[in-house]
Structure formats: C-alpha cells, structure tokens
Amino acid sequence: MSAGAAESMEPGRQSTATRGAARRTFRGTLGFFGQSPAWPLLILLVAFFTLTSPHFLTWFNVSNLLTQAVIIGMLAVGLTPVFISGAVDLSVGSVAGFAACLLVTVQPHIGLYPACLAALLAGLSIGLFNGLVVEIFGLNSIIVTLAMMLGVRSLTFLLFGSKTISPTDYALSDLVGLKLGLFTFDVVVFIAVSLVVAAMLRSTVHGINTYAIGGNRRAAQDAGVRVSRHIVLNFAICGTLAALVGVTLVAQLGAAAPVFGQGYELLAIIAVVLGGTKLAGGSGTVVGTVAAAGALTVLQNGVNLLNVDVRYVTIIVGVVLVLTLTLDRLLSRGPGSSE
C-alpha cells in the first residue's frame, strides 16, 4: 500500500491497519519465543530492574533468580501439557507437599535415592488416578483435581502428622548446594526437564495429539486419536513433576511439612496462562511457560530489591499480570475476538 493510499484511508480503517501492523510485528517477535507475552514482559522487567537496582544484575542475584524460578517453573512445565489438552490439574501443590513428606518419612528406612523414587512414584500414581477418574467417569478435571487437592493435603496430615520433619540424610541438600557457575543442581534439573517436556510436545506423536485434543477433542477422536490415553499420560507427567517439586523442596529446605506447596497451584497456573497457553486448550509452549515463571520470579525479586512496601508487592504483581494479558489480547487478537 502506498503512503498516499494510507493517508486517504478513513481514521477507523487507518487505526485498524496500524493495529494490524503492530499485531504482525508483535506476533513476528513472539514467533520465535512461542507466541508468549511472557518474553517481552521478562525482557522489560529485566531492563527495568537493571536500571533501577544496582543489586539486580549481580552474579549472586542472578544465581538466586534461577534457583527461585525452579519451584513454580517446574510445576508450571508439568501443567502445560495438561492445559494444552484442555484439562486442568489443581492438585499439584498438594502432591508436592505429599511427596516431600513421603520422602523424608521413608528415607531413614529405605535410603535416600529409593525414597526419592518412592516420592516420584507417588506423584505419578496420583497423576494417573486424576487422569483415569477424569476420563473413565467423564468428569470435569477442575472438580476432580480440586477434590484431590483437598484430599491429598488431608491425607498428608493424616499419614505424616502435623509437624515439620527432617531427613536423616542431607545428601540432597548438599547436591542442590553444588554450583556450576550460575547454575545450582536443581536449576540444571529444571532446565533438563523443561527441554524434555518441550521436545515431547514438539516432536512426539503424543505431543502433537495433545495439541489436537485440546484444539478439538471430537475431531481428534474422529481422526482415530486415542484421546483418553494421551490425557491420562499428561496427568501422569504432571503428577510426577509435582512430586519432583516436592523432592526439590526437601533438598532446598532440608525439611518437609504437610503445608509445603500450599497455594502453589495458583502461581503455577498463572505462569502457564501468562506463558501463552490457552485455558481452553489447543495451544501453548513450554518455552512460554518457562519465560512466564522467569518473569514472575524477576518481578517478585525486583520489587523486593527496590524495597517496595510489602503491602503493595502483591498488588503490583497482580496489576502487571493483568496489564500484560490485556495488552497481549489487544495486540495479538483484538478486543472482542472470540479466540
């Protein structure tokens, strides 16, 4: 289109064209990063806090940031395939708490690494159970996993008592204390897990079918995709990663308590949504989720470094998230879009 033609356009059409161009640029920029509003947010936040706090871009703080992103990041990465397939898992925080307590309780009897395995198997089993109940009975995943969230938390209190318990073997804590440059062991595990889940979604039949199911379950079924099998598998992966978060908590904190992981599901869901995964399913990426977990961590860390009054911190976090998602919707889809 020539400049003259553009000038002769009506104001409404002109603004539509400008918005369209902005949208294309925005999408183009985001293409590489998995169409996630979290990437620009992360870059903006890093730039802002680098300029405003002398402590932000220091070796010590960057290493802290990476460690701090692990817990919510790992939960969110596990949730991403579940969300893409159009389901939800609200039980991840409770599973993390259960796995942490199980690990510490059985460790003196069976040894540390078998105890870690037991914790992961417990997470896997809870995930499988969630998926099977959702698929066999055709129940809404929100209701099933909400019930599991409450049930698993209560079971943790019942089985392990209402107290904080410490392991007798602190090798896990020593392990996460190891540093390779900026990276602690738990950060390395998180990166590895994220890469595996990202590759699974991108390059395996299961991953491709997960997108298909989330996009249109009926169509996927008609195309011969074994829908239930894929959904149950995603829940199982999610449960296992939630248990891995429990193991990481024990490693980081050197203890376990039934209250561990409480409320984490909400933060993880925020990270998944901010990462560009649709709540309705069908789209989303692990790369976006990781960026969102990073952005949330940077935001929290940055406002702490700027000494923002604690009463305003959560308000700021909430406002930034809403603004980001609103801006994303306006730029990439346009208001009123049914997408």
Binding site: H55, T58, F60, N61, N64, T67, Q68, I71, S162, K163, T164, I165, S166, S173, L249, Q252, L253, G254, A255, A257, P258, V259, F260, Q262, G263, N301, N304, L305, N307, D309, V310, R311, V313, T314
Partner: protein, 342 residues
C-alpha cells in the same frame, strides 16, 4: 581596618564554634538512649536492616501488623534503611526472601521464621555469606541455632505454661479441656501447644479432649469451638486458645451456644491463651473470661527487635537471647494494665 577585620574574623570564628557545638549536641541527641555510650561502627543513617516477615498478607494478623509497623516507625525515626519482605507463610518463599536480602548487602539479616526447621538452610547461607543473623519472635530449630547471632522475642513455652496454669488453678486442677492451637510447624505455636501437653501430663485431673488448628484466627477459633461444643457439649470445662483472637472466637461460640440452649448457661467454662488482645481484655473486664492470659505487646516486641537488630548491625555485643517480658493478666489484675491495641 586591620582591627575591624580581626574583630570580624573573631566574631565569625565564634559563630562557627557555636554552630559546631550546637550541631554536635544535636547529633548526640539523635543517638537514642539505648545506644548512648556505645561505639558505633557506622552512623545510624548508614545502617541497613533486612527483615523477612513470616506472613503479613498470607496468614498475617493484627499482632504481626503492629509489630512490623513499629519496626518501620523506628527505622524512619532514626533514618535506618529497612528492607522488609513478606514470606506469606511459605517456607520456600522465605528462603528466597533471605537470599534477596543478602543480594542487597544488608548489614543484618533478621528473620521471623515461618517454619523453624525449613528456615535453617537460609540461615546457614546467610551466616556463611558473612551476614549477621537475628531471629525475631519465633525460635528456630536447634540445627539452625549456630547460625544465629541473637534472638529477640517471647518465651512462648513459658508464657503458655503461665497462662494455662492460671486456668488449671482456677478449675481446681480437674476437668476437661479442649485446645485450639495456632499453626502447625510454626515454632511459637508448637511451643505453646507443647506447654499445654506437658501441663496436662503433670495434672492427672485434667483431660485434653481434642486439639485443632485455628491459625491465630478469631473466625476459625469460633468455628472450631462450635464443632467442639457439638461433639462434647457440657463436658467442656476449659478452652486453651493460641492467643486472644482465638479465645475471643471460642468465647463467642460458647456465648451463642448458651443462648441457644446447647450449653448449660450455669456451667462455667474457663479460658486461657498465651497473649491477651483487646477483645479478650474486654471479656476479662466484663468478668466473662475466667482463667487467664499473659501480656505480649507487639509494639514493645517490635521495639526490642529493632534495637537488637541495630545493635548487631553496629557491631555491639548483645545477649544471645532477649526475652520479651510477659506478665500474667486475668480478671483479678487486668486493671493494672492498659488495654492492648491489637
């Protein structure tokens, strides 16, 4: 001309000397009483305190809010930099908060721990990073004690023992009690509950019917007490609350049950908790709180905490433990004390 110049110079010098004298006197006044005569490592306005709060927004209560406000007020008054971060009652977040305080190079890391055991790795990291560590209000696990330079706060075990003993004495050493403890895994709550368990063991006439978690909340205290009343009815002779908020909630449940006929209005139910608040003070004043409590003033505790943190930051030696005075209060002596503001 020379004479005039010399006179002007003398007057000018005298004025400067006087100004300096006044300024130094004013500076001496700026140093608070509790630092007078101490050698300071740096001026107060260069001290930076980092404060990790267990939960101001998450499960926070008025006590925590008033405590934190006092610390802030004093920091502003003396020009001390204060960075406070809310852990929202999440042990993992609190570990990260301590790391964030360290990143800012604070002079002293102060921690009001949300979990006595889970905070230990963070304290270790701070200690090994060369930071002075002061714990506030909640005693941390024994494994973490070696990383702590000072503790300032209440002696939760003893104050709970004092309060509960008053109630047991008032009950004549026999009867059935229920306990609404606070927050499991949080050391003040655990220590307070442990004191009750120990007293029950030491007093064979006392039976503990049940214990539930009320999370320092009046609403939860009331709900749990309603459930206790449904289960045990007039068998309940005494209620141990975690604090005045919980006890007030329990009293409201008892009062409503009496009015509705679920409880015998003539049956006396005793109350105790390990720190009085304004509403439980009012109940004592009205003669509705047989039993007793202790006084734990959040502003006074915040003041002691701030002073200790500044002293540690200034390199002044402080006692390893500074306990907040917590005198007993009951329907007989409440008038001696001011109504709590929290």
């Amino acid at each position: 001309m020379k004479r005039e110049l010399s006179r002007i110079a003398k007057v000018f010098s005298a004025a400067i000397a006087a100004t300096l004298l006044i300024a130094s006197a004013a500076k001496a006044e700026d140093v608070p009483d509790w630092l007078q005569g101490q050698k300071l490592a740096k001026p107060l306005n260069q001290v930076h305190i980092g404060f990790s709060i267990r939960g101001l927004l998450g499960g926070g209560d008025l006590y925590t809010a008033q405590y934190v406000n006092k610390v802030k007020e004093l920091a502003e008054k003396y020009g001390v930099a204060l960075t406070s971060i809310d852990a929202q009652d999440d042990p993992a977040k609190q570990n990260q908060d301590v790391a964030n305080l360290m990143a800012q190079g604070v002079d002293v890391v102060c921690v009001w721990a949300t979990n006595a055991k889970a905070i230990v790795p963070a304290l270790k990291k701070a200690h090994e990073g060369g930071f002075k560590v002061v714990t506030f209000n909640a005693v941390v696990d024994e494994a973490g004690q070696k990383y702590v330079d000072a503790y300032v706060g209440p002696d939760d075990y003893n104050q709970s023992k004092l309060a509960t003993q008053q109630m047991i004495d008032a009950m004549g050493g026999k009867g059935n009690i229920v306990m609404i403890r606070a927050q499991l895994g949080f050391s003040p709550s655990d220590l307070r509950a442990q004191a009750v368990f120990d007293l029950v063991k030491a007093n064979p006439g006392i039976t503990l019917l049940d214990t539930q978690e009320g999370r320092w909340s009046q609403v939860m205290g009331q709900q749990i007490m309603e459930n206790f009343i449904t289960r045990f009815g007039n068998k309940i002779d005494g209620v141990v609350g975690a604090d005045g908020y919980t006890s007030t909630g329990a009293y409201l449940a008892v009062d409503a049950a009496r009015k509705s006929g679920k409880l015998d209005p003539n049956h006396i139910i005793y109350f105790s908790d390990a720190n009085v608040v304004s509403t439980s003070y009012d109940l004592m004043k009205e003669g509705k709180f047989p039993g007793g409590s202790v006084i734990q003033d959040p502003s006074r505790e915040g003041e002691l905490a701030f002073q200790t943190a500044v002293k540690v930051a200034e390199g002044i030696e402080v006692p390893k433990q500074t306990f907040l005075p917590t005198p007993i209060i009951n329907q007989g002596n409440f008038a001696q004390y001011k109504r709590p503001t929290n």
